[in-house]
Structures are given as structure tokens and as C-alpha cells.
Symmetry: D2
Subunit: 362 residues, 4 copies
């Protein structure tokens, strides 16, 4: 557990927000897989700060330096390691962060866990910045999955209370090209309303959250293992490793709890000689194992805890209540930038499940 994920691949993530560098090591990847560095950079740019109106205006190039594991743009079988240097170091608000924990952040719990030795600057190891190495690993897995015709795309299904409607993706046969590049929604009008709501929250010193719906198509049936190795468990462990995730559901998810069995059960049918589910209510997973239908899950992202409005907190040194005003630039909504992070996390979990498949009996 801790900062390592995976069964057959092992992803180790390291670094603190304002330390020298952040990075990742990805071990257990077969040799001979090709890697398109430009394509990887384009993927990383989707997460990087400063590339969006609705995000923090701090511009920082998240360009990884690969230290090992890649020779001539191919995996060589050795662990793949890459780092991103931090241009920002020890920030000025360090003393304040050590004393006044920000509501909704890990400042307090890091202090309680590490007894004052934690790297408090910028959230340290708990910072959202640590999703950059996750995206390096995930961006590579996405390329290798694409070679197997497996595709992963997510869109904002709800933001600031506004739903991405009325057009929706067909669960049994989603057309992922319907998700717009730029602001990732299916319905552009809904997207514009969302962006307006974000801008409004920002102007009020506040923030908003949202939901992200993710689709994985082209998956073989039979992935995942019973009990604790099911696809839901595998995905949940990594998805909940992303800061600000507070909920996760598969297929009909929470709404299934309100349905009858006759409504929520999905009929099997024959389609072109293959067994399929008619509506894919199960989200592509039955008993933890993929059924060959698109895998569908939805993630709840809380509103950015960093807001400009004054908040009540405590001084840990003086053990008395205090008021905190967070200055500086921060995302009024991290949902758009979380989209590639969710795709990356899903790619890592899916690729690990593929590598973990037992060799079939001859």
C-alpha cells in the first residue's frame, strides 16, 4: 500500500509539492513496447496548470525527464523512472501552513501523523501536484492499451450542479468521439454553463466540484479476480488515491439502490455471435470480472478546498481558534484538470489487470 500500486506492475510515486522533484517508477512492464514521447507530453499538458482559463494561471511546464527503462523509445524491461523538477521550492507561506491547517486539506492529518516532521510546503506529498507522476505512468499505459484497441475517455458529467445533457453516451456502445476536446463535455452548451458557473464561483472567492464519468472500451472479457481482486477493487484503490475524490460508483451505482431487481438486472442477448448485455447497467463488470461490455464508472470530486474566502481554523501552536485567508492563485474547480488524471488512473489499473491475467491453459 502506501505510495505503491499494482499487482503485476508496481507504480511507485514520490516527491513533495515544493521539494526538488516529483517522479515515479513503473516496474514490471514487458520489454519491447514502444513509447511516443510527444504523444505523452500532449497528454500531460491536459493536466498541467496554466493551460486553461478556469484553472490556476500559474504556468509550469510538466516535462518529464526519463532516467531509466526506455531505450530508443522502447521499454527495455528494466524499471521505468521519470522525474519532473519543481521550479517552485520552499514557499513563503510555509510557516503559516505549519501552524494554521487549511480546512479540507491534509495539513492537519499530516501534522498528526508525522508529528511535525512533515513537509508542509504546498501540501507536501499530499499535494495535487503528485498527480503529475500518476499521469506519466498512466499516459504510457494509455498508449500500450491503445495498441490493443482499448480506449479510455472521461467527461465532466456534472459541474457546479450543471449536468452534461441532454446528449448522453450510449452505455452499451459509447461513441467516445462525442466528448469534446478542450472542455471535456458531450454537450457544448452545458460546458459553457459550467464554465460560467466556475467563473462566478471564482469571482466570489469560492470553488465548485463535480462528477466525472469514465468509459473504457475494447476490454476483453474475463479481467479481474474474485473477492478482493475484482475490477471495482482494483480501480477503487487507485481512484481514491487521487486527491479530492469522495465517491465512486460503477454502472447504475447509487441509483441501482433505488431500483427493483427487475429494473436493474440487465438481459443478456446475442449480438453478432457474441454474448452481450442489452443496456450495460452493470457497467461492464459482473462479480468483479469484466463481461466484455464497456467499463463505466463515475467519480465524485469535491469543490477545491483552497478558497479565498476567510475560513475558521485553529492555531496548532497556540491551540486556539483562528481565521485563515488563503492567498495566491488556485483552481476554482479542479474537475477539468482531473479528467486526464482519472483516465490515467483507470489506464494503470486496467493495464495491471491485463498483465495479471493467468496464462491460459493450452
Amino acid at each position: 500500500m502506501s505510495s505503491i500500486y499494482g499487482e503485476s506492475l508496481k507504480l511507485s510515486i514520490f516527491g513533495q509539492s515544493h521539494g526538488k522533484a516529483i517522479g515515479m517508477t513503473l516496474d514490471g512492464i514487458p520489454a519491447g513496447l514502444s513509447l511516443d514521447m510527444e504523444k505523452l507530453q500532449l497528454f500531460l499538458n491536459r493536466r498541467a496548470p496554466g493551460n486553461h482559463d478556469y484553472a490556476t494561471s500559474r504556468k509550469e511546464a510538466d516535462t518529464p525527464e526519463f532516467l531509466s527503462g526506455i531505450v530508443n523509445d522502447h521499454t527495455c524491461g528494466a524499471p521505468i523512472s521519470a522525474i519532473i523538477r519543481n521550479s517552485n521550492t520552499r514557499s513563503g507561506d510555509y510557516a503559516q501552513l505549519m501552524d494554521l491547517p487549511r480546512p479540507g486539506h491534509a495539513d492537519l492529518t499530516a501534522h498528526l501523523k508525522y508529528g511535525g516532521f512533515q513537509d508542509a510546503a504546498g501540501g507536501g506529498h499530499f499535494s495535487g501536484r503528485l498527480t503529475a507522476p500518476l499521469c506519466i505512468a498512466g499516459g504510457m499505459c494509455l498508449q500500450w492499451l491503445e495498441e490493443m484497441n482499448i480506449r479510455i475517455k472521461a467527461h465532466i458529467s456534472v459541474c457546479a450542479g450543471i449536468a452534461d445533457e441532454p446528449e448522453v453516451l450510449d452505455w452499451a456502445n459509447p461513441d467516445l468521439a462525442m466528448i469534446k476536446t478542450g472542455f471535456p463535455v458531450v454537450n457544448e452548451d452545458a460546458g459553457k454553463s459550467m464554465q460560467n458557473a466556475i467563473a462566478q464561483a471564482k469571482s466570489q472567492g469560492d470553488s465548485v466540484g463535480g462528477l466525472i464519468k469514465c468509459f473504457v472500451t475494447g476490454l476483453p472479457a474475463g479481467l479481474g479476480d474474485p473477492i478482493f481482486g475484482g475490477m471495482e477493487s482494483r480501480l477503487a484503490q487507485i481512484i481514491y488515491g487521487i486527491p479530492a475524490v469522495k465517491g465512486l460508483e460503477f454502472g447504475t451505482g447509487f441509483s441501482s439502490s433505488y431500483m427493483r431487481g427487475s429494473e436493474n438486472n440487465d438481459s443478456f442477448c446475442i449480438d453478432n455471435g457474441h454474448i452481450k448485455s442489452l443496456h450495460n447497467y452493470a457497467g461492464g463488470i459482473l462479480g468483479g470480472i469484466t463481461d466484455g461490455m464497456p467499463l463505466i464508472f463515475q467519480v465524485a470530486i469535491k469543490p477545491t478546498p483552497s478558497i479565498s474566502l476567510p475560513q475558521k481554523t485553529v492555531s496548532m501552536s497556540r491551540m486556539e481558534e483562528a481565521t485563515l485567508s488563503i492567498t495566491g492563485r488556485h483552481d476554482p474547480c479542479i474537475v477539468p484538470r482531473a479528467i486526464p488524471v482519472i483516465e490515467a488512473a483507470a489506464a494503470i489499473a486496467v493495464y495491471d489487470a491485463i498483465l495479471s491475467q493467468p496464462i491460459r491453459r493450452q
Copy 2:
């Protein structure tokens, strides 16, 4: 992964629904912990079939036989192993299950994964019956947690669309004694309405689902690890190992996605010399680490997939569509019986997180 869970403790679950026995091995438990076998049996009875009007009428004593690890009602440091013999073996519907996969069950995916070699009888290793060994392990962990004054209780928050209202548990200071024994709700009238709705669904050959809200009180601050070892990841991996779970959220969860940061952020305050969160919106976890407040999560349980109403499926041998009628007795709603299973799973995850705490610097 697969059928093993845990970082410091290792829980291995084995058995098939209609095999000789189901069981579990729990390794990594310190020596010298006492175990009250009667109390454990009382806990297992809460999950056992046949003890409730609203559950399957098949009565089966789920009495574990401990094979190892317990000497004189104390742990001896060796792996703890216990089994439950299955009184039902190879069932008559085996041939049908091998050919006509039940909608909403793992029959199809087990077939695709194991190429026809799976134990199809009664769902095999995917059966809800495998939650009995989970409850053996969890029932033990609950006792050991209780000695540390950590308590875990869950109630049905929604069933058949009916909410457990208007009385609710205070998130910052829940009185777990408000949860009724028997049908586990806070409000008895709501409970009666739920039971009526279950009975009605049953009489119509249908089933219903629901939500379960679980509280863990008395937890120390500082449990859990950053990134993939956070308490949400630890709990999610085991909770999603329980059949029929389709969603999971922590604290304000999905509803936080619709809030503003200023609403969802919780204020820190000083209470009797301790730092607390005012409302515990975060559900006791910030950055994956416990903050000393009650840990709160909610689980979505889908309606029982086994229903008497005829359903559309396919014949896998003839590759043509077919109609299936599931006979025999089955729970019209597994939510009440899932309550101790959720408590057990939470206890295992929490106890493992406690055992995984690094030794503090002197």
C-alpha cells in the same frame, strides 16, 4: 489481490458455495489477543440466512470450526484458520447454471474467465456465501478493536427508496446506540415501511436494494498512508469485494460535488483541548489520513439479482437467446444481512491500518 487482502494482516478467503467447506486464514495477528467465541457466533448469526423474515427461509447454522491460531481462546501468533462446512453440495440446478447465466450474477463472467472449468453451483467462489468467512475475520477484528474502544456500527440509511429519517446520527458525535437491534435502522417507523416494501417486492417475485451508512468511532488520528494507502483506498478495496456493492462514498461524498468549497469545507475548532472538525463533513478522513473524527462512509447495494420473475438470458451452449426463471428461495433484499458484512469489512480494513502504523520515533 485476488482472494487475499491486507498489508500487515493477510486475509485469505476460500471455498465455493456448494463445495465441501468455505473458510478463511487470517495471518499477521499479534499473539495474546483474547477471543470470545460466543460473541463471535452472535455476530455471525446476524449475517446467517434464515434468521429474518425478510431473508431467505433456508436455515443454515454458520458455525465456524477453528483449525489453527487460537489456543485457550487467545491468539497464539500463528495464522488463524477457520472453516464452515457446507451442508448443501452439488445442487440440482447446476446444469442450468452452466448454460443459462443469471442476469446480474457472475455466471457469465466466471464462464468466460475460467473457460468452463468454474464451479458454477450456487455461484461458486462468487457466491454471497463467501461473506461468511469475511464475517469470521471481521468479527474477530471487531472484538480486538473494541478493546481499544473503537466501535463500528452500520445502519440501513435507505431501503426500497425509503430513507431512515427524520432522526439521524450526528456526524461529529454519533450515538451508535440509536441504531436498533433486529432491523438495523435509527427510526423504527422507517424500518417498518422498509420491511413492508421488501415484503411487497417479494410477493411480486421481485427484489429491492438500498444504502448502508457505516460509522467508526474512537479511531486515533494519523491512520492511513498517502496516495494509494489512504483509508478510502483501504476500505474501498475490501468493501468492493462484497457482492452487490455498486457504489461507495465518504463523508459528504457525491453530494459534495454539488456544493461550493465554502459549504463543504469544514471548520477546525478546539473542543476540550483537542482539534476537531465542526461538522465532520470529511467523514473523518483528510488526505487519506484519519483526523480523529468518526469515520463515515455509505455503500450502495444493488437489488438482489436473483428474482422469480422470468428474465431474458442466453444459452451459452446453443448461443441463442432464452428465458430463465429462477426458482428456490432467495433474499428479496440483502441489505439487512449485508449490515454485519459491511461492519466486518470495515473492521478488517481499520485493524489492518492500525497494525500498519509505523513505530513512532522514541
Copy 3:
């Protein structure tokens, strides 16, 4: 770690010498592998007590009961669990064992580790009896390896100081049929001398040890992983899990330390269109990875610590020195019975390495 082994397969061993049962769970095995139960029993008989003159005369049938994972003599994909009931329970010497630790046994360390809560009877979880479940798992793996034409055979290379000479197995192309059934040596005369030496030690209330040389033939090249996942590391972890093992070497092993590079380096050559090592000094492993030659290792087994001669120990309750006389029947030499245990351990490690091979790029 602890009582679980394996990367892709997970072997969990449980039980105490005089508890209700000992057993094992083997998880992660592909579905559809056949299992010949009679053949497995014949393998287990090789380890069972009472089948040899030179071993303890206590006769006990080590017949496993399979609880799960096997349907119609084939693996079904679910964890395989099997137990062996103990006919001997709480022995009379329990009180003595709790107070007077036997030299060379784990009685003292178990006491120190578990603070008096350990199951001291018969050595508890540290007993050599726990190699029976190891042999269940290994006996299955041996069958599955045999289907791939991989064979594992060990012989006594030294016992009571007597070497299995002058005939020796060719390291580059060993004829495993040269190892005799019954008392497993290559040279029968040497074997007879060994048996005489064992009988003599027994008559003197003493015991002897020996060396076991194990060969694995038919292995594909490329098994194992760099650094900590090399074949030596994989084998060492499980081999050192066998009681009484005090040393392990691969290929020329300890004697290589006395050679020059020009002697110990092996020449590569072409043999029938394949690259081979001329003498296989490396024992089939270079850089932790198999090279396609037979894998060869040798294990040092200490003399049985249970001897009839009086020994000096301490009374832990009175904290004073004491004299201990171990009564009852015990093996004057466990080396012959350790042969199938070593073969079983090697089979588990090798089969796990095979299952852990990454899927090759298409």
C-alpha cells in the same frame, strides 16, 4: 512475508503440530489444470513419517482433504484449499516444552516472540509437520510443471559426512533416472553407508545432517527478474522456510569463491542450434535469470536437533540452568524425508516464476 509465499500464486500455510489440522491455500492458479490425486498421495507418502527405517516409527497417514478449488479433478480458478487432520493433539510434554526450550529448536524464540501465548505443543507452527501442506502445494505444482516437460528431482549428495560418489550427475545434461527410488542417492553403496551411519547415530541417541542437491530440467530461458526477483532470491525465500535448512548455494556456489574467473566462467557454445553453457557451472542462472540449462542448487540440512542424549538448557520460569532429555520417537536424520520437501519448494518457486512471466509483446 510471514506464512504466505509467492508473486503470482499465493501459498498460505496454516496449522500447528498438535492443533486440529494443518493445511494450505493456494491462490492464483489458472483454471482447467488437471490434478491426479493418487499421484499426489504417492508424492506425499515420500515425506510422511513412519515409511522409512531411518525415520521416526510413528505412522501417520498424511491424506489431504481438499475443501475448495478442485472440481472433477481440475482446478476451477478459485483458491485451492486442503487440510490434514492431526490425530495427535495436546501432547503430554506440553508443560516441559513451555519451560525447558529444546536446543536447536524454536521453543525459545517462539516464547520470546509471542510472550508465552505460542502453541508450544510439538513445536506448534514451527514444527517440521508444517512441511506436509508445503508438499501438497508442491506436489500439485510438480504435476503442472511435468505437463510442460519440466522435471524436478533431488538426491542426498552428502549424509553423515558420506558423499554420494563416485557416480555423479552431469550438470549440463543430468540423467535424473540415475537417482534411486527408496533411499534417494545415485550410488547405492554410498546410500547403504549413509543408512548405516544414520543407524549408528540413532543407537547412540544422536543425529546426523547432510546436503541435498536438486536439479530442475526442461526450464525455459528467461525466467526470473532482475535484482530482488532473481531465481536465487525466489528459491531462497521458500527453501529457507523449511526447518533445518542452514545453507544454500547455486551451481559452483561456495566452491566458486576459491576459483579463478577463468575457471569458474563457463563458455557459451552452440549445441543443435541452441546457445548452451558448456559445463553449467552457473547452475542454470545468470543475473538471476534462467539460461535454459538445468537449474542446480544444493541445500545444507543440519542434524536433527531432537536427540535422546541429555542436553543443557534453561528453565524459563525459574531462570536457572537445567538438563533436558528428549524422549519419544524422532528422526535421527531428516535428510531423506526432506528430499520431497525440497522438490516441492522448488516446484512452487519455479511455477510461480512461470506464472509471473510478462505476456510477450505480439
Copy 4:
């Protein structure tokens, strides 16, 4: 497995000999431990090339750059990551190494495993250079163990067939100060003879091997776990991860196989109110668990496979036999430089075992 080691701590090693950098990530270390960087550098210098007459004359500063996990010379609870830049990149002998595998090296097996995609330059991920990051991790663990009064020291017990005699360390109470700094032996005359023998082998274009004996003092009793988690298994997994290790024994080890039980069994006695073993024949481990005596093991190091003398190999491209002459500077004996590597590996295994101790019952 693969390039990751540990139960409670997780050590991940990455890099190739001639890639951009080599490095390590050490996760699971408690916060608040101090780290003396100068002391660490002094330890790394003992392994670094070019610091000894008997070693390769290539001088390279092995100075780690810490990227994360250390703040103000203390651990902060986040993963500790450090890298060493390689000054040598793609070497000129790359083409030769891709075609003519060096006897005794992993060139052939890497090629067979990775299908030609391996990084062949300088041995790639299999290079002895990868012991530098192992020493970074081990050097830190040595410091933290020292704070607990646990000390780890190794000496050359045999080199080029010359034993470090007649003075020897007392197994029950070793005086580690008897090991000389510089060339690490107990007897200086023996050490001079060894150095002469190394020089002679070098002058003949050949190499020699040796044995390393390692002592761990100050260990608490009760470390390690039964079966696969014993101290021998834990140490063996990491020790066999060091290139050129071909054998490993604990306490009397291989020689115990030639003894009788009455000779090899050690008496327990009372010493100053503590239970001790009289001679510590067991090397501090009984049943896999430490007994409070010094832990003693011996490692067999093969002669350096890189020698100047011409050797027979094959051309993999032409599949015909060929002669190889390895040019350049290489160690005629790696045993002296392996001493700190063995100490580092032992420190990592021991510190991991300490972190993995279950919390004692109150």
C-alpha cells in the same frame, strides 16, 4: 518481487549502468528520523570504484542527489528518493555486447528474456553499478539501526583461497572493532596475502572470489516470522539480489551438515539474568526468529566474470562460436567492494523486520 524489496518498507531500485541515472525510492520509513549526509557519503565511498588499489582505477564520485523524503536532514514520512547521475553513457562496446555475451554475465539471459530490447550497455539493469542505490538505502538504515545500538559489520573471511586467520571473532560476543578499516579483515597479514593474490591474478588477466562473513549485533530477540518470513528468508532474498553472490549460510551453515546433533545443538545458559546460547552456532536465528544473539551469516562471492583472458562465447547474430576479449578496466576481485554492499543489504532486511514487528499486546 522484481526490483522491489520489503514488507513494511518498500525499496525500489531503478537505472541502468550507462543510462541517465541510477536511483532508489525507499517508502514506508517513519517520519522524524535524522540522517547524517556526510556519514552516508563516507559509507558510499567504501563501495565506490577507484578508491582502492585492488579495484578498477576508474574514479567516479557516487554522490546521491536526494529528490524527496528528507527535509532539514530528517525523514518527513514521504517516500525517500535519491539518484546518482551516470557520467558514462552509451559505451563503445555496445555493439559487441549485443552480439557476444560475456561468460558469467547476464548478457545472454537479458537478451533471451527481453528479446533484444534490453539495455546491453555495461550490463544495463544487471550491472554491479546498481548496488550503489542499494547502498544509499542501506546506508540510511545503518544509521537508524545504530540509534537502536544495532551494528552491522562484515569482513573478508576468505579471498583467493586465503583465510582471515588465525584471529577470529567470537560468535557469541564478537568485537567488531577487530575488523580493520581499509582492507576489511581481522588479521592484517592475511589481508596482505589476499591483496598480493589479487594483484597476481590481475597481472595474469584473471580474477578471484571470496567469502564474506557478516555480523549483526544488538538485535532484539523475536524478529522475523515463521515459515516464509524467517530472518534467513528475508536476508536471502536481498543478499541474492547482489550480483556475484552464489551461496549463503547461517551460523554453522554448510559445516553443520557434517556434524552430529550433539555437536551442532547449542546449549542455552543464563548470563547476567538473560537466556543466551553458549556458542551461537545457530548464528542468532532459531526457527527463523532472532534469539538475541549476534546474527551471523556468510556469503560466497564468485570471481569477477570480467577477465582480460580470451574466452569462448557465441555470436548471437551469426549463431556460431566466437572468442571474446574483454578490454577496459575491471575489478580483479569485487569482494572488498562487496563488503559495504552486504552490510547495506543486511541493514535493509533487519530494519524492515523491525518495522514489521506487530505491536505488542498492552
